[in-house]
């Protein structure tokens, strides 16, 4: 049988702290697939939720970490809620995302989503609360620089006047007075993924 790597070696030299971060035991998963069956975006994923867990069970977490799936996930919690073995699949997704970014293994096609989340975190670190226009600008430029898609810069631009008409655009959002404490919180929680 042609299997890459040794499927029995669950704790090879490159084992990742997925179970620790997710606070859940992956050996409990008996691959029933109910998570996949209820996932609203399963059709968009390269590896289905139960397959992601299977690769980690087999000691091949790299496949999961490089997948598009973990970034397509919308964190709707349906998988964890319905799992008959009480495996916290949604937390596993979070753990895989955190490690994937920290290890520089993000699937190229998913850069826009990652860029958005990173821009979001950067934004609230500096402002304490979300400054939307700043986020949009930062996000669009980041995507442009990472992918070279010019059209992306101008997508949804037509929404701006519509939002403005409805008084939903805030050029000077209310700021948090004690912003330094937010910086310090971020610093104390720093992990490798905010590099």
């Amino acid at each position: 049988m042609n299997v890459q790597g040794n499927p029995v070696a669950q704790h090879s030299a490159e084992s990742y702290p997925i179970e620790f971060l997710a606070h859940t035991q992956l050996a409990n998963c008996y691959q029933c697939g109910k998570c996949t069956a209820g996932c609203p975006v399963a059709a968009r994923m390269d590896l289905a939720p139960n397959q992601l867990i299977r690769t980690v069970q087999l000691g091949q977490a790299a496949s999961a970490l490089r997948s598009q799936s973990i970034w397509e996930c919308v964190s709707c919690q349906t998988c964890s809620t319905r799992c008959p073995k009480e495996v916290d699949c949604a937390a596993v997704m979070d753990a895989l995302r955190e490690i994937s970014l920290a290890e520089g293994m993000v699937a190229p096609s998913q850069q826009p989503i990652v860029a958005f989340q990173q821009a979001f975190l950067d934004n609230i670190r500096r402002n304490g609360r979300l400054a939307e226009l700043e986020l949009i600008a930062q996000f669009k430029t980041a995507v442009f620089f990472r992918t070279g898609r010019l059209a992306f810069l101008f997508k949804d631009a037509s929404l701006a006047p519509q939002l403005g008409k409805r008084k939903k655009l805030h050029f000077l959002p209310g700021k948090v007075r004690d912003r330094k404490v937010v910086e310090r919180i971020f610093a104390k929680c720093s992990n490798r993924s905010d590099k």
Binding site: G33, K34, T36, A37, A42, A48
Partner: protein, 666 residues
């Protein structure tokens, strides 16, 4: 002065490899009271036993210690040998120098020294042994069978055919259990009622079977060989002696729209009804919660119509007493409730499957009734909402079972097989229909079982998808089933006309109350506990009470029948003589010193101690005392440890003996 003989065994290499048996035999020969000490390679063999017998006679021994394996292995062997040589068998002790010594140690010198110590203990014990006699308990040579399903029927017939009277108590109006409602059974696809009803009739007509139908066990008193059972015969409001079963009453009853219990609400029945045409006894009952006459003194049509004058609206529950020697519990199962309401706090239903909301989501027993030739639709598979014939049916396995989150972690054993059967029955009835089965694993371990499942797939075209279903919704009369196939790694959605959920087997309602009445154990799911999972599958830890069928664990019909016959054979062993013999190593209470505080009565886990009085020959009161019932006591010693006046003691393990053993090591 004691005359004790010590017989030390080599057990081949098992003991001799680690313990220097020759040295041991030499050392123990100088223990006080020891008359002779010999050793031999296989003490339990014929020559070994002959040696024991010979020495008992030639040395006039009054006590024997066999230093060898665990008493669980050969205590009976050596007691028999002693008895054959004329020595009371309870003057034989075994010193375990194998399981407790040679098998668990490596150092030869230390193991040998320990073996000598172990034998020293046994010598002290045997020196203080009393020549006990086995206890004889009279036996009522009748059996009670609780439950009239296939297991209860099999057990009752076996016991009755062997010549003993059987009392059978069945909760429903008719015997037959769940099997009477099935359509066909795997792997032969026999018509279930066709193979069962002859047995049911046999029970109904058997000269030695007394059937109490529509009845329940109210109370249990007594002990093995001597049970007194109180049975509640629920009011039928029909005199079964006068009734001819003609059916005029249930035809004329105006209240016809009550969900039928036998059909699991797939069909209706009148307020006066017979559960199914082949019922045994073939006599109706009136449901007092629905009958207009019983609720508000209206109607009364059935009484007017009955030519046999068998209707009796003044009927009452009756309590009846029966004396039996043994009990077989065969109370069967119910299905896990898929809807939200549960009878245990740690269970929850499957809201995501829409059972109870969508009419066309049903469970497996409901499906059986829909395809059964004698069912509410006469065997035509009409779906509940509109009676249409479904062209796509989805069967979902493991509903409620193998599910830690919902509360039942075990496998329900029969569902893989009956789901394949359902897929096949469906195809045989609806030739252009498609069966879809969502499964996690296929458990088909019986004879011809795997081939049966493959037949469903390869010959009857059932589509099997490996995965669970996440959610079922209803759009435009179709059930949208969202599942997955993990083998292909895809989520897939099936539009079904009917969904059948294979719900887990659980023990029948009321099992815990019944088990407490009988003083037998049950696990956290309510399944009755066997004495030993490998070697005693039909006995319980309470002497005289046996179990058979699905009340013990999920199982299919062949296993239930086999277990029922096994229980029947155990019953026959017990009923074979007028007396039962029990080991005498039980508690005894010195009634002169007993202070009658009755702490022991309240602590005894077997309810084996009675409060009684000592009176003179002419009846004058002397004192109260506790007294052990030798038929029930299991010799656990709890009473000995709690008795404040040291009046309770354990025969064969007296306080004096135990202290003597402990002090001998000092």
């Amino acid at each position: 002065m004691s005359r004790i003989g010590i017989f030390t065994c080599w057990c081949g290499e098992n003991i001799a490899r680690t313990v220097d048996v020759d040295d041991v035999a030499k050392q123990v020969s100088s223990l006080p009271g020891v008359r002779c000490s010999v050793n031999y390679k296989y003490m339990c063999s014929d020559p070994g036993q002959a040696m024991v017998r010979e020495k008992i006679v030639s040395e006039k021994l009054d006590g024997v210690v066999v230093a060898s394996c665990s008493p669980h292995m050969h205590l009976k062997t050596f007691r028999k040998a002693a008895q054959a040589a004329g020595l009371n068998p309870y003057l034989v002790e075994m010193a375990n120098i194998r399981e407790h010594c040679s098998w668990v140690h490596h150092d030869r010198a230390q193991a040998t020294a320990k073996a000598v110590d172990i034998i020293r203990l046994s010598v002290e014990k045997v020196r203080n042994d009393a020549a006990l006699e086995p206890i004889r308990v009279p036996v009522t040579r009748r059996a009670l069978v609780i439950g009239g399903g296939v297991a209860g029927i099999q057990a009752a017939l076996d016991i009755a055919d062997a010549g003993y009277e059987v009392v059978m108590v069945e909760r429903e109006p008719s015997i037959g259990g769940k099997m009477a409602g099935l359509s066909e059974t795997f792997p032969t696809l026999d018509c279930s009622q066709c193979i069962l009803t002859p047995r049911m009739v046999e029970v109904g007509q058997h000269p030695r079977i007394k059937l109490y139908s529509y009845s329940e066990v109210e109370a249990v008193e007594g002990f093995v060989g001597n049970f007194k059972i109180t049975i509640r015969q629920k009011a039928r409001y029909v005199d079964t002696a006068k009734c001819t079963g003609c059916g005029e009453c249930w035809n004329v009853c105006p209240l016809k729209k009550n969900p039928s219990e036998f059909d699991f609400a797939m069909g209706m029945r009148p307020a006066i009804y017979i559960p199914f045409p082949q019922a045994v006894p073939a006599r109706p009952v009136i449901d007092k919660k629905q009958c207009a006459k019983l609720i508000r003194n209206g109607c009364g049509l059935c009484e007017k119509k009955c030519k046999a004058e068998a209707i009796n609206f003044k009927d009452q529950d009756k309590l009846v007493e029966e004396k039996v020697g043994t009990v077989v519990v065969a109370t069967g199962y119910k299905l896990y409730n898929i809807a939200k309401e549960q009878d245990k706090a740690w269970l929850s239903g499957y809201g995501e499957y829409g059972y109870g909301r969508y009419k066309n989501v049903i469970d497996s027993l409901q499906f059986e009734r829909l395809v059964s030739a004698s069912g509410p639709t006469n065997g035509v598979l009409k779906r509940p909402s509109d009676g249409a014939i479904p062209k796509n049916v989805v069967f979902i396995s493991c509903v409620g079972s193998r599910d830690n989150a919902k509360g039942l972690p075990y496998c329900s054993k029969i569902c893989c097989m009956y789901t394949a059967k359902h897929a096949m029955l469906y195809k045989h009835k609806v030739h252009d229909g498609q069966a879809h089965v969502f499964y996690m694993d296929i458990r088909a371990g019986g004879k011809g079982y795997d081939e049966f499942v493959r037949r469903a797939i390869e010959q009857d075209g059932a589509r099997y998808y490996r995965g669970r279903v996440s959610k079922i919704t209803e759009e435009n009369g179709k059930l949208i089933v969202r599942g997955t196939d993990t083998l292909a790694g895809v989520a897939l959605t099936i539009e079904a006309d009917l969904v059948v959920l294979a719900a887990a087997m659980r023990p029948a309602d009321g099992i815990e109350e019944l088990a407490q009445k009988l003083n037998i154990g049950y696990d956290e799911f309510g399944f009755l506990l066997e004495s030993h999972p490998k070697l005693r599958p039909v006995e319980t830890n309470t002497a005289g009470i046996f179990i058979a069928g699905a009340c013990h664990a999920p199982k299919d019909i062949p296993e239930s029948v086999a277990q029922a016959s096994a229980a029947a054979s155990k019953v026959q062993v017990m009923l074979a003589a007028d007396e039962l013999t029990r080991e005498p190593e039980i508690a005894a209470i010195n009634e002169q010193t007993c202070a009658a505080c009755f702490t022991c009565v309240n602590t005894c886990p077997y309810h084996a101690i009675e409060r009684t009085e000592l009176r003179t020959g002419k009846g004058a009161f002397i004192k109260r005392t506790a007294r052990v019932n030798p038929g029930l006591c299991m010799g656990c010693g709890t009473c000995v440890s709690v008795c404040p006046s040291k009046s309770a003691d354990l025969q064969g393990f007296t306080e004096q003996q135990v202290y003597a053993m402990v002090e001998s090591l000092a």
